[in-house]
C-alpha cells in the first residue's frame, strides 16, 4: 500500500513512520506538514492510503479532502478533537487517537487492506476508464462521507447547494450542480433536466409520457422527469 503521512508536527510524523515500519506491505511514499503540501503530495504520489491529522493550521483535514478529485482511503489521526471524533463516529470513518497504540493501528490497517481488496475486486463502473474519479469526500454539517461516484444515484440542485442521493443518505453539499457535474464521468451520469443529474446505472425503468418526454424511475423509487431535448438524447443513449 502506497501510504502518505500528513501531520503538521514533525515528531508525530516520525512516530507514524516508526509505527508503520514493521508492516512490509506499507510503503511510506511521502510526508506532508500541512494541507497545501498534502494536496500536492496526494496528487503527485497517488497514495492508496493517507494517514492524516484532522487539526492542522490553515485548511483542516476535511477541507483538504473536499479539494480532491479522487479521495484515497483515509485513516484520520487526532489528539483530542471532540468535534472531529463525533464526525468520525457518525460517519463510520476510521480514526486513531494520539498517542497511537500499535494494536489500534494494526486493526485500522487491516480494515484498509480489506477495503482496498474490495475496491479492486469491484468493476470501476460501466465503461469508466481507469483515470475516472472513484470516490469523493462529502460533508454536510457534522456528518461526512467518502462516497464512490458510482454509488450516487441522483444529484439535485438546490440553489447554490446540491443534494446528493446515495444509499440511505441525501446530504446537501455547498457546491453548485454544474460545478459538481464537471467532476462526474459523462458515460455514467446524465443531465435529465435543469436541476437534476441521474446515474444511468441506477435506472430501474423508463416510461414514455404522452407528449414524448421520458420519465425515469430510479431503483429507490425516485421519479425523474426528463426534459424534451434530453429525452431525445436519453433515447439514443439507451438505444430505446
Amino acid at each position: 500500500m502506497r501510504t502518505l503521512i500528513i501531520d503538521d508536527e514533525r515528531l508525530a510524523r516520525t512516530a507514524l513512520r516508526r509505527l508503520l515500519r514493521p508492516y512490509k506491505d506499507i510503503e511510506v511514499a511521502g510526508e506532508a506538514a500541512n494541507s497545501e503540501e498534502g494536496l500536492r503530495a496526494i496528487n503527485r504520489f497517488k497514495p492508496d492510503l493517507v494517514l492524516m491529522d484532522v487539526e492542522m493550521p490553515g485548511r483542516n483535514g476535511f477541507e483538504l479532502l473536499e479539494q480532491l478529485e479522487d479521495v484515497p482511503l483515509v485513516i484520520f489521526t487526532t489528539a483530542f478533537d471532540t468535534y472531529a471524533v463525533k464526525a468520525f463516529e457518525e460517519s463510520a470513518l476510521d480514526y486513531l487517537m494520539k498517542p497511537i497504540s500499535s494494536e489500534r493501528l494494526e486493526a485500522a490497517l487491516d480494515r484498509a487492506r480489506k477495503a482496498l481488496a474490495a475496491a479492486a475486486a469491484r468493476p470501476a463502473g460501466a465503461g469508466a476508464s481507469g483515470s475516472a474519479p472513484r470516490q469523493i469526500f462529502v460533508r454536510d454539517g457534522k456528518r461526512c462521507w467518502i462516497v464512490r461516484l458510482a454509488d450516487i444515484r441522483l444529484l439535485e440542485s438546490e440553489g447554490n447547494y446540491t443534494r446528493l442521493h446515495f444509499g440511505e443518505d441525501a446530504p446537501l453539499v455547498f457546491r453548485s450542480l454544474s460545478a459538481l457535474e464537471q467532476r462526474l464521468t459523462p458515460d455514467l451520469f446524465f443531465r435529465s433536466n435543469r436541476s437534476q443529474v441521474i446515474n444511468l446505472q441506477w435506472i430501474e425503468s423508463v416510461h414514455n409520457e404522452i407528449d414524448g418526454r421520458l420519465v425515469v424511475k430510479l431503483t429507490k423509487g425516485e421519479l425523474i422527469e426528463v426534459s424534451r431535448r434530453q429525452s431525445q438524447r436519453l433515447r439514443q443513449l439507451l438505444s430505446l
Binding site: 512516530a15 489528539a79 494520539k98 497511537i100
Partner: protein, 365 residues
C-alpha cells in the same frame, strides 16, 4: 395557639428559600398587628359610640372585635393551609370569610346584647352593623394580602439574587481557562517520540509538563496568583509548544522586576499565548516571534503578548477564549481591567491586558 403555630411553620417554609427566622419574625409581626389592630378598633368603638360608656359597651366592643380577631385568624389558618394557591384561587374562601365573619360578629353581638339586656329581639342595628363588619373584614383581607404578597415577592427576589450569585460562581468556574486537552495529548504523543530522539530533553519536558499540570489544577482553586508564578507556568507551556513548533517559534520575555509580584488571574497569559500561537505563528510557514512583556506604569500592570501574524477574523474559538479571559478579568477586577487586541502595520498582533494595582492591602485573595 399551639395548633396555629404548627400550621404556620409548614407553609412558611414551603416557598423555599425563606429562612426559618424570617418565618418566625413574620409570625410575630402578624400577632402584634392582629392584637394591636383589633385592640385599637375596640377602643375606637368604645370611644366614639353614642350613649353611656360602661362595662356594657366595653363588653360589646370586645365581643365584636374578639369575634373579628378569631374569625380572621381562622381565615389565616385556612390561607396558610393553601399557601401554594394564588390569591385568585382563594377567592371562594375570601367571599365566604367576608360574609361569614361579619355574620358571626353580628350574631355574637346580638347574643351578648341579649344576655346583657336580658331581653331578646331588641337588637335593631343588625343590618348597618353587618355592613360595617363586611367593610372591616374586607379591609383586613386587603391589608393581610398585600402584606403577604409583598413578603412573597421579597422572598422571590431574595431567591433570584441567590440564584444569580450561584450562577456567577458557576460562570467563574467555567471561565477558568483549562489546559487544552488537544494540547495535552499532542504533547504526550510528541514526548513519547522524543524519548527515542533526545532522552535528556524528553526528561526535562516531562518535568515541565508535570509542573504545568500541577499549576492548572491549582488554578481551579485560586482567584489570582503572583505574575511570577503565572510566568513560570507560561514558560513551561511555551517550552512544550516548542516541541511542536521547533525553530518556527522564537520567544522573548521582557518583564520588569516590580511586575512580578502583581497578582493576575491564573492561566491568563497562557490563554493569550495559546491564541497567538494558534492564530498567528502556526499559520506562518516560517514561524515567528512571540514576545511577552509586563511593566508597571500609572498604577496599572500592563501585560502585552505580541505575535507575528495577522488578526484572526471570525474564528469561534478565539472569540470564546478571549471573551472568557475578558469576563474573568471583569469578575476579579471590575470594569477597571481590560483586554484589547490590536494589529500593527508590521504584521504583528498585540494582546494587551491592563490590570489596576491594588490600592489597599485588602484587595486580592
Amino acid at each position: 395557639m399551639a395548633m396555629a403555630d404548627k400550621v404556620k411553620i409548614k407553609p412558611m417554609t414551603a416557598p423555599g428559600a425563606t429562612a426559618p427566622t424570617t418565618a418566625a419574625n413574620d409570625g410575630q409581626a402578624y400577632y402584634v398587628a392582629q392584637l394591636l389592630g383589633w385592640g385599637l378598633y375596640a377602643a375606637f368603638i368604645y370611644l366614639i359610640s353614642p350613649g353611656p360608656k360602661g362595662p356594657e359597651l366595653a363588653a360589646n366592643a370586645l365581643v365584636w372585635c374578639g369575634c373579628g380577631l378569631f374569625g380572621t385568624h381562622v381565615l389565616r389558618i385556612y390561607v396558610d393551609r393553601h399557601a401554594t394557591h394564588s390569591v385568585a384561587q382563594l377567592t371562594a374562601g375570601f367571599a365566604a370569610a367576608i360574609v361569614l365573619i361579619p355574620a358571626a360578629m353580628v350574631s355574637a353581638q346580638a347574643l351578648t346584647l341579649g344576655i346583657l339586656n336580658k331581653q331578646q329581639g331588641h337588637y335593631s342595628g343588625v343590618v348597618p352593623h353587618f355592613f360595617q363588619a363586611v367593610l372591616i373584614i374586607s379591609l383586613w383581607c386587603a391589608l393581610y394580602f398585600s402584606a403577604r404578597e409583598s413578603r412573597k415577592r421579597r422572598a422571590a427576589e431574595m431567591e433570584a439574587l441567590r440564584l444569580a450569585l450561584l450562577a456567577q460562581v458557576a460562570q467563574f468556574r467555567t471561565l477558568r481557562s483549562q489546559l487544552n486537552p488537544h494540547f495535552l495529548f499532542n504533547c504526550l504523543n510528541n514526548l513519547r517520540e522524543l524519548v527515542d530522539e533526545d532522552q535528556e530533553r524528553a526528561k526535562q519536558l516531562i518535568t515541565r509538563l508535570s509542573d504545568l499540570l500541577r499549576y492548572t489544577l491549582r488554578a481551579d482553586r485560586v482567584e489570582t496568583v503572583p505574575l511570577k508564578e503565572e510566568l513560570a507556568a507560561l514558560e513551561d507551556y511555551l517550552a512544550l509548544e516548542k516541541i511542536r513548533f521547533e525553530e518556527r517559534l522564537r520567544l522573548r520575555y521582557e518583564v520588569t522586576p516590580e511586575a512580578l509580584a502583581v497578582r493576575v488571574p491564573p492561566m491568563l497569559l497562557q490563554t493569550l499565548a495559546e491564541n497567538g500561537l494558534k492564530h498567528g505563528i502556526a499559520k506562518l510557514p516560517a514561524g515567528g516571534e512571540l514576545s511577552i512583556a509586563a511593566v508597571v506604569s500609572d498604577g496599572n500592570l500592563r501585560i502585552e503578548v505580541t505575535n507575528s501574524g495577522k488578526m484572526a477574523h471570525t474564528s469561534g474559538s478565539t472569540v470564546i477564549g478571549l471573551e472568557n479571559a475578558r469576563e474573568r478579568l471583569k469578575l476579579v477586577y471590575g470594569e477597571q481591567a481590560c483586554l484589547t487586541l490590536d494589529v500593527d502595520s508590521g504584521e504583528r498582533v498585540h494582546a494587551v491586558v491592563t490590570i489596576p494595582l491594588p490600592t489597599e492591602r485588602a484587595t486580592g485573595t
